[in-house]
Structures are given as C-alpha cells and as structure tokens.
Amino acid sequence: MLGAMSSHPAPVFDPELVARYDVNGPRYTSYPTAPEFDARFGEAEYRAAARASNEDPIPRRLSIYVHVPFCFSPCFYCGCARIITRDRGKAEGYLARLHREIELTAPLFDRDRQVVQLHFGGGTPNFLDWRQMAELVESMSRQFTFASDDEREFGIELDPREADANYVAMLARHGFNRLSVGVQDFDPEVQVAVNRVQSVAQTRAVIDAAREHGFRSTSIDLIYGLPRQTPSRFAKTLEEVIAIRPDRIATYGYAHLPERFKAQRQIDAAELPNAAERLALLGLTIRTLTDAGYRYIGMDHFALPSDELARAQEHGTLQRNFQGYSTHGACDMIGLGMTSIGRIGDAYVQNAKDLVGYYAALDAGRLPVARGLVLDTDDRIRGDAIQRIMCDGVIEIGAFEARHQIDFAVYFARELAQLRVLAGDGLIALSPTRIAATARGRLLLRIVAMCFDAYLSRPRELAPGYSKAL
C-alpha cells in the first residue's frame, strides 16, 4: 500500500530516453498477448472454463464486452476490426447472431453472478439505432443479472457525428453511466487528412447530454502523430479538450502500418510528423494535461484525481484488461460479438475474427470461439508481474514472493539482468525489496513489462506486428 502510494510520481518526459526505447512491443491488455492464443482452444474448452468459474466459493462477478464492428465511414488511421457501410440494415443480420450468442452464453454462468461492468466498443456502437440498442441491452438484462445502478459501470464508445442528445438519454435510461468519445484532433486540416470531420460543438453536445443524464464519467480519445499535426495546432486541440474537461483522456500514438491496415494507405506518409515532431507532440501532451490537473495513469491514459481510475491507482487496485485500465479486475470477462476477447478464470478466449466465421458458428448453434489459451503457473506469475508494473509501476518483491511462493531472485534471475540495464538507464529503481518505475520510466512502463514476457524471446515474436512502445 505504501509502495503504491509513493510510486506514482508525475511522469518526467525525457525525449532522449523515450527515443532510445521507441521499440515495437505489446500493450499488455492481456498476458500472454492475443497472438499467443491457440486455435486448439475451442467451444468445449470455453464451456469447461465457464463451468469451473461457477464452482468457486464466491464466483467472480461478470464484465461483458460487446463488439459492434460497423462504421459509417472509414477513419484512415484506424487499425480496429470494423466494416464500413452506411446501410443500417446490415446491423440486423449481426444483431440476430449477437442475440443468439447471448442466448448460448448466458446459461453458462450462474444467475447469482452479477454483471457489474458492461462495455460497448467497436467499430461504432451507435451504428445501432436506439431501438436496436435498447433491445440488445434489454435482452441481456433478462438473461444476465445486472448489478444495481450504483454498483454498475456501463460504458459505451460513441461517434458524436452520429449520435444526439436523445440517443444519450436512451442510453442513460438503459443503465449506461460512462461515455467515451473519439475526437483524435479538432484541427480541421488534420480532420480532413484522416477523414474524420467532427466539430467541437458536436463533441460537446453528447458530453453535455451525458452529464445532464447522470453519466458518472466521460472520456475523450486523442491521437498524436497524425498527418499534418504540429505542436502549435495540437496545443489548440488540447486546450479545447481541457475546456470540455472530461474525467479521462486517452492519447494514443498513431502507428503507421499501411501494409497491415488497408485504411491507412489513404494517409500520405509524407504528411506524417517525423520522429522528433512526434516526441514534441507527446511532450506537449503530457505537460499540458498534467498542468491542467490531469493525473498520468500509465500508457496512454490520463484521469482527473477525482476519477475512479486515479483513485484505484492510489489504492493499488488498478487493473489492466482489454478495455485498457479498469477498476474491475476481479471479474470474469465475457466477450460478445466478432473478434471479442474474454477471460474466464485462467482461460482467455477469442471469437471468430470475421463475420463469415462468426455467423457460421452461431447459425450452426455453436459458440463462435476461434482461439484461446489456458494460463499455466508461469503465465500467471509473469502476468502478475506485468500487471503490477503496468498498473502500479511497482513490484513489491516480498508480497510477490508470498503470493506465488517463489524466490524472486531465482525465478527471475535472467529478467533481473535485463532490469539492471533499465535501472542503469534510469527507467527503474531496483532494490532487493522492490522494483519501481522512476518518474522518467513511467512513460516507458511497457519496456519494463517486456522484461517479464517469456514469449518475446520466441522466434515468431521477432516478426513485426506490434505497434511502437509510444
């Protein structure tokens, strides 16, 4: 507890250090990371994991993620699994399968296990019109047991260009209390270059509506490193975002991988900021947001000190999962929809990554499980080390040894050699009792976490595929 308290110094932006460690690496929304999931893990394994999860003396509560893969138009920077169409009718076929998946999934979990977290992501969840969305949530509330209003955290990502105050009011009526809005950049020239033209007024409208209807938390996503961005223009975006004052702000670094993400081929590489400009944008972002009273949580995330994320970090209860940082770590996570990932006990499970596979399984009455993995003891130990680094910036070695009944220095002899190099570079402070990220190292948490990743040294992982660490 004491360690966690003292381990969140304001991050210090050291451009030279950040540039030196700008390498490809996982984001550790899971460990092992999704590329390690195995196609031999199928429906039977998922059912077994669900069955076992009901058998704990106090079964974990539930967190549900629903993926809505459709978007009205392509944002050129996007690397998500999504389908571009203006035809809302397309959603009907998908929804029919989603309802089927809910019918097959809900009975696997005992009814006294409350759903405390629900998150809609995409794609664009508000591709579903208010009637479709209402039906979906009502269907889930009939088949799962939703926690009471004050205990639940129900969130949704909204595209403000396609949502209005009425839509937000409908969400509030159906129990939603968290809103996340994509902005990326308010600069008109950048917006044209990435094919996402969205005014400050549109953004404000949905956030104001959310506040009016009792949403407890609002969040805005930004991206730095987009074409035509400059520090002076991005400073203006930051100023406008701070004026809206969302509880959380995420600032993702744009990773240009046009060979992997087709939409990104629309971006003119010549217009992208160079490495030095990217660093300047990042430095500006960190300085501006922390000066405005936001607390740096880790990776790409900032939160106001009053927000639950900041409070959870203070109390050492912050968790990292597929939705980034979360305060609900002790849940089993159910993923619904194409590509969705779940975690049930010690099992990770991922649905079919395309509509064809997703539809075919459900049409045949099967769960659309495509891949997964059951953690072994080593995965659990390393996963815990990575969680602690990503969330607390600290590993208290004594407590860690007691939790896993290992001798840290022996178990992690090889990793400690790597960590000593990072300590030499000033990313961490290393002592026999704790490993703690320094103020400069807080911006490079995943470099520290990577030391504990046993899969990185395997040949397959040398292939490119992960985005840069920043």
Binding site: N54, P57, I58, D110, T377, Q405, I406, D407, V410, Y411
Partner: protein, 267 residues
C-alpha cells in the same frame, strides 16, 4: 512455515525454476511423506497404532504388508462406485475425496469430503457393498487396506482393533453434524472451522484452506442453495472473518467463526 494445506497444482515437474525455489527452502508443495517400513505416512489415520509407546511394532510391520498405495486419481475419477462389492477401506494420502450417493432421479447427495489422513469406505463393512461413490476432487492418492486381512490382524493385535473402533466411532459421529436445525451462517462457520481443525490435526495450516470442492458440492453437503453459500461467505468476508481468493480461504478471525459454529462443532 507453510500456509497452504496442499497445493499439488503449483508444482509441475517440468518447471525447473520452481524446483530451484523448493531447493532454496521456499516450500511450494506439501504432500504427506510416504513413510517406510517403520513409520506410516505422517498423516495416516493408522499412524497412531504405533504410538504412543510403540507397543505394536509387530502389528505395524504386518499392517504395512497389506497396505497398497493407489493413484493418482484425477479430478472426477472414482475410487469406488456405489454398489461395488466391499473389499477394502481407504485412507486418503493426498488430495481430497468426495463421497456421495445418487438417487433414482439422478439427484446427488454429498455425504462428506475426505482430507489427507482420513478414511473412506468404513460405512461399507455391512452389507459388504459400498453404499456411495468416492470421487477425487483434485489429484488424489489413497492407501488401500484389504479388509479381510485387516480384520484378521485386528483379532491378533489389540492396538489395531482399538484404532479401527475409534475410526468407526468417529465416522458415525460425523453423520450427526448436519442433522440439527441450524442457520446458513452456523453451517458455513462450522464447515470452515471443521476443515481447519481437521487440517490442523494433520499438521497443516490451521487458518489457510484450499477448498477443492465446488461450491455446488459445499451447498449440497450443507443443504443450502449455492447462492446462499456465496452470499454468506461474502458477508463473512465483509465482516473480516475470512478472506477469499478463488479457492483459497484464509480464516482471519477464527475465534468469531468458532463462536458462530459453537452449536454444531463438537468432538
């Protein structure tokens, strides 16, 4: 000192680092030792035959000849089936074994959970058929005592006979545990205290339990609904009586639990 009763799952033979950890004095796994020609496994119910004055050394030697180490059984495997002809009683060496019956409509009735050192099959002596299934709840090892041979031995050695009577008597006493009209809180407190005492009597931790049984089994055994088991345990946790982490339960206020259980726990 070790704070887990039995954690076979933690150790995999292939994991060299973990073995190093053991060699460095960090206990990862606790298994009863196997005994030898002069000693029984440290947890064995028959171990006390040779105690306290070592009167029955000869009996011990002969007993060893009729003991057969059996297993491992994996979770869900049966050590014997209801209706099987009775030929032996068993002592659990490692893991946990559930005994249960199933009625004509397929409804299961859990009779008990058996920990290392405890006997199963004593209720089969008459009418020479096992009246229940014995099912491993995790990786389980047992000792098989051929009953005809044991009975013959008991006639020759009073120590063996006395121990057998003691075990039978204890087994009959156990059945009375749940007969009364007790609340869910009392039943669960008694269940946890009972397990803790049984583990402690075998030299394991008195406060840190690993529950190998599913909550449905606990509920069935205590005649409660599964959601009641969880609701009461969550309340115990909120009150600071226990701390629950998956299957691991730590008794953080055993005195309060014992007080709750005072009308049930006996012996």
């Amino acid at each position: 000192m070790l704070d887990r009763p039995y954690r076979a799952k933690v150790l995999t033979a292939a994991d060299a680092s973990l073995r190093v950890a053991v060699a460095n004095g960090v206990p990862v796994l606790r298994m009863p030792d196997d005994g030898d020609e002069l000693r029984f496994c440290s947890t064995c119910a028959f171990g006390s035959v040779c105690m306290p004055q070592g009167v029955d050394k000869a009996a011990l030697g002969e007993l060893h000849c009729l003991v057969e180490h059996v297993g491992p059984y994996r979770a869900g495997e049966r050590i014997f089936h209801a209706g099987d002809r009775f030929g032996a009683i068993y002592a659990v060496r490692g893991g946990t074994v559930k005994t249960s019956t199933t009625d004509d409509e397929g409804r299961e009735q859990v009779l008990g959970f058996h920990l290392p050192g405890e006997m199963i099959g004593l209720n089969a002596i008459h009418p020479a058929k096992y009246p229940c299934d014995a099912i491993a709840l995790d990786t389980a090892y047992v000792c098989r005592f051929s009953f005809p041979a044991l009975a013959t031995l008991a006639m020759r050695f009073p120590g063996v006979q006395q121990q057998l009577f003691r075990l039978l008597s204890a087994d009959i006493g156990k059945a009375a545990l749940l007969a009364g009209d007790h609340s869910a809180d009392e039943r669960l407190a008694a269940f946890l205290i009972g397990l803790a005492d049984r583990y402690a009597s075998r030299g394991f931790s008195r406060t840190a339990l690993r529950l190998s049984m599913a909550r449905a089994d606990i509920a069935n055994y205590l005649r409660l609904a599964a959601e009641t088991v969880s609701r009461v345990l969550r309340r115990f946790q909120d009150q600071g009586l226990i701390a629950v982490d998956g299957r691991d339960v730590t008794l953080t206020d055993a005195t309060a639990l014992r007080h709750l259980a005072r009308n049930i726990v006996h012996g």
